[in-house]
């Protein structure tokens, strides 16, 4: 069977691949959306933090003998802690200023982090093996699905929806949202708002690092892996609506699928299709698909 001249089996496999990429977009844009929604900081070092997550996993495996499963927890903790330090010592001073200052600071940090890793490890990157339990693949009839990729989708979506649940449906999430709406009032009610904000940034960064560990066995672990991805992820956040948690998750997955289809029908355009959609969305709904104007 063919659809628009493309065998349906190929189409099915491309949609699945799109879903896999979409889950990466979702988890990265989620972190960005949380940080922007709750801190009003445009975190340009998100890509570098994703890259460092992958590198921490690689270093942990090769120098410390820490395996993949532990690294899934270990790398986000390390990079999240680094995020806490950055928030406490630098970002904190910028909250009262224009968004641009936060953007410039985090952009500068991203360049510094990338420079350090480039100096230490070169540009070609390091290989991270797929963990033994997830090696091999299953034949779905229309395609061969590597088990690891299936795991990426499951893990990423679980973490995404858990995060959404915490922020939208729990008391902690309610404090967070209230703290950003009216910090003085929440503070007066006895809640330590600055601490809450610090941990929110740390958590957003940890999400990036988690995505980095997920990506390590798929891509070469290289200093530029984050900067290649981050622009697309920003577009995802803009399309979804800055600050909208569910919006960024759904948009991430949706754009992954659209990008996958473009790679079949017109591969040359696959790098720009996300930005074309961004332009259209901004023209029609300037606040983004899920944003509140």
């Amino acid at each position: 069977m063919e659809i628009f001249g493309v065998p349906s089996a190929l189409l099915g496999s491309q949609l699945l691949v799109g879903l896999i990429n979409g889950s990466f977009y979702a988890i990265l844009s989620l972190g960005l959306a949380i940080i922007f929604g709750l801190l009003n900081i445009i975190n340009f070092s998100h890509g570098a933090q994703y890259m460092m997550g992958a590198f921490v996993a690689w270093i942990a495996l090769n120098k410390l003998g820490i395996n993949y499963w532990v690294a899934l927890l270990f790398a986000p903790l390390v990079i999240g802690a680094l995020g806490v330090v950055i928030e406490r010592t630098m970002l904190r001073k910028l909250y009262k200023l224009d968004h641009l200052y936060g953007l410039l600071l985090t952009f500068g940090l991203a360049l510094i982090f990338e420079g350090i890793f480039r100096d230490q490890y070169g540009i070609s990157g390091q290989s991270y093996p797929v963990p033994e339990l997830l090696q091999g693949g299953v034949n779905l009839g229309f395609m061969f699905l590597p088990i690891y990729r299936g795991w990426v989708v499951v893990a990423a979506l679980t973490v995404c929806f858990a995060t959404w649940f915490i922020i939208e449906k729990t008391k902690l999430g309610a404090y967070l949202r209230a703290g950003t709406e009216n910090p003085q009032m929440v503070q007066a009610l006895g809640i330590n708002v600055p601490l809450l904000i610090t941990f929110t940034y740390g958590f957003g960064v940890a999400l990036a690092a988690f995505a980095g560990v997920l990506a390590a066995p798929v891509y070469q672990v290289s200093p530029l892996m984050g900067s290649n991805l981050i622009i697309v992820v920003f577009a995802v956040v803009v399309i979804g609506g800055m600050g909208s948690i569910m919006g960024s998750i759904l948009t991430g997955i949706g754009l992954g699928l659209i990008e996958g289809l473009t790679r079949v029908f017109y591969p040359e355009a696959s790098a720009v299709v996300v930005f074309v959609i961004m332009v259209i969305v901004l023209l029609v709904r300037p606040a983004g698909l899920f944003g509140k104007a």
């Binding site: 896999i20 070169g122 070609s124 070469q220």
Partner: protein, 404 residues
């Protein structure tokens, strides 16, 4: 008697003046070599700081060996793989800093841009890193040398060998820019000429990180061989993901441009058995080992063919300056073209009228992990492709400088 003595003295004086004049032909009594390369981007491992180091080594070795009366200096800069940055920097070097030769120039677009500026300013370009054949064809100049490899030689090595060994149906994964397209075109021609068939190709954006969609298309084509007409991180990611999706070993990959730095970063597990064409391998013979070990001590990585070629080209240039007694571009180039190149990099290499340096190329196969006995022991050399067969024959050249 007295007059004879006098005339001898006069002769000596005149001679001294002449040789003084010869010295004065080196502007500022300094020969300045500029290394313009990718210091921070995709190609910085295969060229980059290693190419700068190779240049330094060449200059130090030349001074020790030739004890020239002139000074030799080096400047370097990062062109970020952008043609405009490269040509602006080159112009600044030529106009204000007295640079005599711009060298390395990985990424074809930067090379073509700088060649033009250099020709206009009457300076020399020595290119070790870039790969496309237009450098010595449509856009050739009489002051440029393309030293290490080109897409024709790569296709002629890898695509030919793989097709002849039974890999007769191909599908290309091509980086969507000048270099990738040139590599696909040259390789397709070789595949067809050797009785093979090209079933299709897909152009991926440059750079890309996820290749699964493109690989699935290659898989659906049913071709025996998936030709990777890309380089650097694109190649390494594609190889890694091909194994993940179970495409290899059912279908084989042919990396049309792979450097030892790529093999090193991917590891032998995922690259074993792949064929590649290279202009240099560190473990070829005693001479290559001796030089490469010196390089390794300073750089902590074995040299790529680009870095080894960089040393050789700069050395050849400096020797030509000394022999010609001038840094005048045309005279030095004539000297370079008249002198065969014999060093650890090339045996009986020579520079043709189109600027192509021809030398033996090697068809290598990546070792299995258990065959590798010591660090960087990565290749079996399967075949030496003689200089005359490795590169585009002059009879097919599109360079206007070639007399037919």
């Amino acid at each position: 008697m007295q007059t004879k003595k006098l005339s001898t003295l006069a002769c000596a004086a005149a001679f001294a003046m002449l040789s003084g004049a010869a010295n004065a032909q080196i502007s500022g009594n300094t020969v300045k070599v500029g290394v313009l390369t990718d210091m921070s981007g995709t190609y910085s491992d295969l060229a980059g700081a290693g190419a700068v180091l190779a240049t330094q080594m060449a200059i130090e070795d030349f001074i020790a060996e030739a004890k020239p009366a002139f000074k030799v200096e080096m400047v370097s800069a990062d062109h970020q793989n952008k043609a405009d940055i490269a040509s602006n920097k080159a112009r600044e070097w030529f106009e204000r800093e007295g640079v005599d030769a711009a060298t390395e120039l990985v990424t074809t677009s930067t090379a073509l841009a700088v060649m033009k500026v250099a020709k206009e300013m009457n300076r020399i370009t020595l290119m070790s890193g870039p790969g496309s054949t237009p450098i010595t064809n449509e856009q050739c100049t009489d002051l440029a040398v393309h030293y290490t490899y080109d897409t024709y030689a790569l296709a002629n090595g890898t695509a030919k060998a793989v097709t002849q060994q039974g890999g007769d149906t191909w599908f290309f994964l091509t980086a969507d820019y000048a270099f990738g397209q040139a590599l696909e075109r040259d390789s397709s021609a070789v595949v067809t000429a050797n009785g093979g068939k090209v079933l299709g190709s897909v152009r991926h954006p440059f750079p890309a990180s996820d290749f699964s969609s493109f690989l699935l298309q290659a898989q659906a084509s049913g071709a025996k061989i998936i030709g990777l007409a890309n380089a650097g991180a694109d190649t390494t990611n594609a190889i890694k993901q091909a194994a993940e999706f179970g495409i290899t070993p059912k279908q084989a990959l042919a990396g049309l441009l792979m450097f030892i730095s790529d093999v090193h970063s991917l590891g032998l597990q995922s690259t074993q058995g792949m064929y590649l064409t290279t202009g240099f391998y560190w473990d070829l013979n005693d001479e290559t080992r001796a030089w490469s070990k010196r390089f390794f001590e300073k750089h902590k990585r074995m040299p790529t063919m680009v870095q080894a070629g960089q040393y050789s080209s700069v050395m050849h240039y400096l020797r030509a300056v000394k022999a010609a007694g001038t840094d005048d571009a045309a005279k030095v180039m004539a000297q370079m073209k008249a002198t065969p190149i014999n060093d650890f990099f090339a045996k009986n290499g020579r520079i043709r009228d189109d600027g192509r340096m021809i030398h033996d190329m090697y068809l290598a196969q990546v070792k299995k992990p258990e065959e590798s006995k010591y660090p960087w022991d990565y290749y079996h050399i399967r075949q030496t492709i003689p200089a005359d067969e490795a590169f585009l024959p002059l009879s097919q050249s599109k360079c206007p400088l070639v007399k037919k």
